[in-house]
Symmetry: D2
Subunit: 390 residues, 4 copies
């Protein structure tokens, strides 16, 4: 008989983990307000010591059901799940190459889905994908839009889904990576030493190191001449572009980089070392490419797919002097892979974080002296050289 005191829609959610340290709780409250909702904190248990997880239960209100749904969508990405847990919903894809309407769009945080009352881990975590459940309903993994096939079981809505940003964002993990936070007043020499140490730890753990390298790296002279191709023409830099075109032509005539190494035409440089040391690499095409080199994958979807294969097992990613490829790789990496991004342009680091690769440690410096000093700290480049390039 009595009307509800407050019009609008309401739902109760909970968050757990390092929600204070990781700034998750304030972010969630902020999102609610920004999207036009309001909240009541129903219960809050903050871990007494910093190692203890915290817990909070929030009543979220929106002026109507549509706004409430939008709020729940947003805060779900910050780990807020409805207190009333249900299984997730899947529907079969009704066509190739597209998700069903209302598909769940993934983050790069660890994610679980609830099936038959059990929470199971989502594999191949990657942002901006859908979640594909296998036909037996026992496993799930991220799948990009273009790879969906008609009939695939795709998760829709956000029921029965939970994400764990807190684990990734807890400050401890950054401390594991770098001994001290990066600051513009900290000598860069210290930062380089810490990255070298993180690289050694990554290898010691049996994880792979991924290097995403822009063309500036080949100009550093660290590994030898430009493009790694020693054509020994001694031309000054102004002729760089024609030199570059003739180098590509020579490699195309030879049948590719590997063939050029085997035939003794390519004798030094980054690509030479990759071939000799059997370090896998991916050369992804761009609309600006000349040539290109035979190993360049000119189809960008195929290149992305090859990059997905190669990031398996990566523990640390070093991005140097390339905004395009850094963002492309950042899009594929789960949030728990440590990323160090080195660029002389501060905007590259900012863009990377803005697009969701928030685990990035950004170092605004010049690629050449950075790499030179990194090589010094890593000691001699031995036969088990640590890099793989994209």
């Amino acid at each position: 008989m009595t009307q509800p005191r407050t019009a609008g829609a309401v739902e109760e959610v909970e968050i757990q983990g390092h929600i204070i340290d990781s700034l998750l709780l304030p972010k969630v409250l902020d999102e609610i307000l920004t999207h036009g909702g309001s909240f009541n904190l129903k219960d809050i248990k903050i871990g007494e010591r910093q190692a203890d997880p915290s817990y909070v239960r929030i009543e979220v209100r929106g002026p109507n059901q549509q706004v409430l749904e939008e709020i729940l969508d947003v805060i779900h990405d910050h780990g807020a799940v409805p207190t009333l847990a249900q299984d997730c919903t899947v529907v079969p894809a009704d066509m190739d190459g597209a998700f069903p309407d209302n598909f769940y769009s993934t983050t790069n945080y660890r994610t679980q889905i609830r099936l038959s009352g059990e929470w199971i881990e989502v594999e191949d975590q990657e942002m901006d994908c859908g979640i594909l459940m296998d036909s037996e309903g026992a496993a799930a993994r991220c799948v990009p839009m273009a790879l969906v096939r008609k009939g695939d079981l795709i998760v829709v809505g956000r029921q029965g889904l939970r994400v764990f940003p807190a684990e990734t964002m807890a400050r401890q993990s950054l401390f594991e990576f770098m001994a001290s936070p990066v600051s513009s007043e900290k000598p860069k020499g210290v930062t380089v030493r810490e990255i070298a140490a993180a690289m050694r730890r990554t290898r010691a753990n049996g994880d792979k190191i991924l290097a995403v390298l822009g063309p500036a790296v080949v100009h550093t002279g660290i590994y030898g001449t430009s493009l790694g191709v020693s054509l020994d023409r001694g031309l000054p830099a102004e002729e760089g572009h024609e030199h570059h075109l003739r180098a590509i032509n020579t490699i195309r005539r030879t049948g590719g980089i590997r063939a050029a190494v085997e035939k003794g035409i390519l004798k030094s440089g980054i690509m030479y070392e990759c071939v000799r040391q059997q370090i896998p690499y991916v050369l992804a095409g761009s609309i600006r490419d000349d040539g290109p080199l035979p190993e360049v994958i000119t189809d960008v979807l195929s290149a992305q797919q090859r990059m997905r294969e190669q990031i398996q097992g990566v523990g640390l990613c070093l991005m140097v002097a390339t905004a395009l490829h850094s963002i492309a790789t950042g899009n594929l990496l789960p949030a728990w892979v440590k990323v160090a991004c080195v660029d002389i342009n501060p905007a590259t680091v900012t863009k990377l974080a803005d697009r969701g690769t928030s685990q990035t440690v950004g170092i605004v410096t010049d690629a050449e002296p950075f790499l030179r000093e990194l090589v010094n700290h890593l000691g001699e480049v031995k036969d088990d050289a640590p890099s793989k390039s994209i």
Copy 2:
């Protein structure tokens, strides 16, 4: 019996045109010195008035034949040709997808080759290509490396070739484009007005206008909502990325942009206007792409080829807020197409000029107010809307 007074190698070249105005002569002399050669000016006739062409004959010396060849290579791009004219040399390509060794690498300047004593024009002028002679030896055009087929007749060396940078670089052409030189102290309002006027002149001449647009343009709101897709969900900007993914999914489900317009799903925005006004567009894929939209050409070589087709007949190119696509397009345009490049980052303009698109007028400003003011100057966007996007 007598030894030559000067060891080394020597050749005589000549340059004609507006070689003083266009800074060509000083550049040529500078290149000779920089590459380790020396020169004697044998004859110089400078046009008395600025309209008159000039002529200079230079004896070029190098310490040995190899250095001399390098110098001749470099200055050839500035229009310096051997005084002793001979026909050009062609050899058949010995394989698909690569030029013969010693192929002539093109510039974006107007170029002629000498066949049977006659100078004939090279068509489809584009930098970083080779020159393909037709089987009858009566015509020639630029061809990119990847499109070479075994047996194609390709020009080698620089004998019987001449380029005309002077014509392109003469200052008069800039004056035709803009009423006054761009300067950081000139109010931008004036620059916008001049670009609008240049656009009108281009259309009046029957030439096409090419717009190379980065994603920032869709965020300007000039044409409507982000991505031109009016899904009317009213989400604030933070949700931009998920919004964007859902928009792509919807268009994929519909079968593409054209289908979405026809079915009334896409009702406004840049892409809507392109479809409705039958303005051709090219959407080129990138390694960062989500989705992508069905019309995106994911193979970068195919996308370049489609871009080559679309630049035929272009008289003016307006590049806004995209370094990648601006450079990619600049690589394809002949040097006589006027280019205005608008970017908030001065480095974009610099890179474009560094990579050879030296005809670029750079305007360092914010895309949104620039476009808003340009639209004001162009008057109402009529049914014969002037743009075409890549």
Copy 3:
């Protein structure tokens, strides 16, 4: 007899206000950990609704007294005060032009000191100053280092002091300023409209608007010719520099800007309008100055002092196209003055926030079209023109 369970030093602090919304609590906890301390949350009361203030009591531990003191120093700036309140301590300055050792270094947040058990407000709030108590011990204000006179009573330590960052940082205040948060995806046109509205509200409140303008503003042509000096020589931009020197010389010969307006030599431009409309302005000297103009204050301390006088009563500050003067002004403004900083270089905005002017709304755009559109939104520039320049 029993040893303390934990070695090290301990102190209890409390914080109140919008400590969740404003991210204050997480920041405080983070500072404790970063500086090598640890914490126990003894009591936490989070406001149930977003309007309610929250309260938290924290036991802070450090490995030794020195580290603890450092931690308490840092978190004091975030509003954390010892639970055991005592009066503040003052000592007389022992020399001119320097604070006593251990002086309290101010923030730009609202601050109170405790005198005879009462909390009194600190006036002239400004960062990086000391606090000067008047001789009767009844009032206090911020004082810069250089202005200290021997015998002045200066607050030392952090006992009996509390700051209120939460009030400034509460998100509501930003919403009062701008109708919606600035985002790179929000059309700039909307942002300009909101700033215009904030300017009108500021004037309606009887507050002053401060404009901090770099030289790029005079090149916009908004108010007329460069430097506001119409010497009508019609020189093209390349001669800008000599033009500029002659203009300064002319004004010096005339006796200054005011005299030049009165004698009809200066007839338009920003400075002309300031004189005519009796808008106070400060021209602060720089090591790069030519001339300078007679009104330029060449002593930087005097210029700072004059700026301090002029910021009294300012409610909104618009900074355009000058990093140096924006940071200089930001150093003087209390945290509750709304600041909009417009610059084509994103680094300017970042630097401003890094140096403590955290209330800044940054708009990365080109000054000229920004101002042009702002003028449109403000309507005609009337006799009661709203700006004052530094």
Copy 4:
């Protein structure tokens, strides 16, 4: 009786020197056209070999006398002097602190004035000054506007004046400075080595080296802790600002940097080394300054004057990580002092050249690794340490 064939005004000028190499001739012709004039080349003698000077005589026409005067003004700065040489004109200054109308505004190129038929050298060459003749009419030097005293004899017009840009701009001088031109594709390691070599040559010549250093340099850790003040408080970087204020207060309490070194309070760092090695330094105030340190010259005109004194005898200037002070110093240096400008922001280098310090070699890199590597190349920092800071 006959009307002149061409209306308008005409004058004949001549230029000599390395006018082709140095691009002077094309620049002069370009200026004539840009300003609305036209030219006839009456005589041209181009040096046959690159060591030979060239000579050109040009008839310059303008549509009226005023435009012609403007053209002659502009091209005079490029070394074009009327063929009909006359003595220069001087008038006494009619007031303190300003030049007479029509004063000659200087460049930073070597300049001569003609007195009693003899060409005499102008001393203290500096851009944007006037030329002061001594009372006997036997010597002349540059004088800044603010230092003019009533009765001073100041050169007006451009009659009897000649400048020598060609000598400064000849490419040979750059080759003396750097072994090879700076290019973005040249490894930075090579550039650093060349700058070290130029520093050694400068010292060997008995010339001084001037270092213009921004605050980033003290954060590099090259010389020890921030500000060179070792207060040993071990605070992490976040407290940098308060630390900085306390350091300044301590130095003020001590009576200055020199006193702090003598009393053993300041024990390491850049300022410590300057004091200990008796290297003169200038600390110029800025409107952003806290404190400031006692040695800071807060009046910008006094600081400029002190800088003028210190640049006497400087052969090489190294500018690192400061746009403001680099431009301020560049304004004072004659064009023949070699300048290397190191900044992570490419705009700093561009601005420096735009404002007339065209002799600058710009190196876009990070200050810290640059300095670290430079120190390596220079060997141990000995007692005769080579730098002097502003």
